[in-house]
């Protein structure tokens, strides 16, 4: 009990001290997950719009597939990206394995289905009357689509935050493709796993507290967006 209290107080001390190692690990985590989220949004939002507004064969199958991919196990994604990026793999020539780029790629695969699928749900749940009203007021089909996207903005933001929460807390995939190299690919979750193994709990706890704080901030943001979306619909 004493040991836990001591570790916790040291952990808080590390946070308050703004320990350099701690800060660099947090910044790398945010950079990797933030980049993955931005790229996922850049691909996922047009994809969601295409599925919501487009009419093409096998659209339903495609939507189902995306929903299924939302639950992809991170270690499987890690393994797949590892095989693709390893020296003998098809993209081995890019020499990306054990780099932050490989970690971003793995996180994109995890975040993209969440962003696309939840954004698609948000878009199709916009009242169909909005499309008609927009048309009757003289909007072009493109402007109608933009209006629907605007109406779905809280749902889309919820999807983005859910995806960010998932990739920030993820450990399996980035451990496999990043290698947990100190000062290069070591992020919060992989550091916690490593330091716990070593019995060095103060850094692990400090990062755990910060991860929890980020997770709480994301959840608070999520509930604000959900509430806003619900009260204003």
């Amino acid at each position: 009990m004493n040991y836990l209290a001591e570790s916790l107080s040291r952990a808080f001390f590390l946070i308050l001290q703004l320990d350099q190692e701690l800060i660099s690990i947090i910044l790398l985590s945010l950079r990797v997950s933030g980049s993955a989220l931005l790229i996922s949004a850049a691909i996922g939002l047009p994809l969601a719009a295409l599925m919501a507004f487009g009419r093409f064969p096998l659209r339903g199958v495609f939507v189902n597939l995306l929903n299924t991919f939302m639950g992809l196990p991170p270690v499987v994604v890690g393994l797949l990206v590892y095989l693709l990026l390893s020296r003998s793999g098809p993209f081995g020539f890019l020499a990306l394995l054990y780099t932050p780029s490989a970690m971003i790629i793995a996180q994109i695969i995890l975040a993209l289905p969440i962003v696309a699928s939840l954004s698609h749900s948000a878009l199709v749940s916009v009242d169909p009357i909005i499309r008609q009203v927009s048309t009757t007021l003289g909007a072009t089909p493109f402007q109608v689509s933009l209006t629907v996207i605007r109406e779905a903005r809280y749902g889309i933001m919820s999807g983005m935050m859910a995806a960010f929460g998932r990739v920030m807390a993820e450990v399996g995939a980035i451990l496999i493709v990043g290698g947990n190299i100190a000062g290069y690919t070591r992020v919060m979750t992989t550091t916690i796993a490593l330091e716990t193994d070593k019995g060095n709990f103060e850094l692990a706890l400090a990062l755990g507290i910060i991860l929890l704080a980020i997770s709480m901030a994301i959840n608070t943001g999520l509930s604000i967006f959900r509430r806003k979306g619900m009260t204003e619909l």
């Binding site: 008609q132 009203v133 048309t135 009757t136 007021l137 003289g138 209006t147 109406e151 204003e232 619909l233």
Partner: protein, 216 residues
Amino acid sequence: MKLKLEISHIMRSPHGNLVLEDCSYSFDRGGAYLLMGPNGSGKSTLLRICALLEKQDRGEVTYYAGEQRLQHDISLKRRMTLVLPQVGIFNATVFDNVSYGLKIRGAGRQEIERKTLELLEFAGLAAKKNQRALSLSSGEKQRLGIARALVVAPEMLFLDEPTASIDEANTRLIEEMILGKKKSGMTMIITTHDRLQAERLADQMLLIRDKKLVEG
């Protein structure tokens, strides 16, 4: 050139259920045309066909500017607006809702500000311009819908049951808005099942009887 609408031999039969049969009419003067008929008689369907929101199964909807026949393209569609019975409020402020039509037409900031405020005054909503539009009462929402349709100064305005589900005070306000706009020479085609209202507003009464359009 004044916009004129001519419909000829319109037939509409959604899912095999005949709603309109051989409806023809020429809306060639300004003012208010009141389209009457009981619920389910096809008034809204005819209105949506006239406003190019729905396609007829047979017949023709033709718009003219003078003698020139117009293409059913976006420039024609931007000369008319339709207010649906469920107004369809955007999740934004009252001001943003009313200014929507101007924004999508690429109007400048000052023009948007001036015209929107003018219409908000006209609709009695100026004091609520910064309020979330979804929090308005149903009568206010209906007035907002009409203001939003009028802000772009359409040459033809379609109103589908504009006072169907609102109180007497709001009905009176909306009727005043319609009467106010009639003076501008705008063509309005309005559906209602309220004969007294039709008599108060109409320059020309039309009836849908046995799926056909007749003068009332």
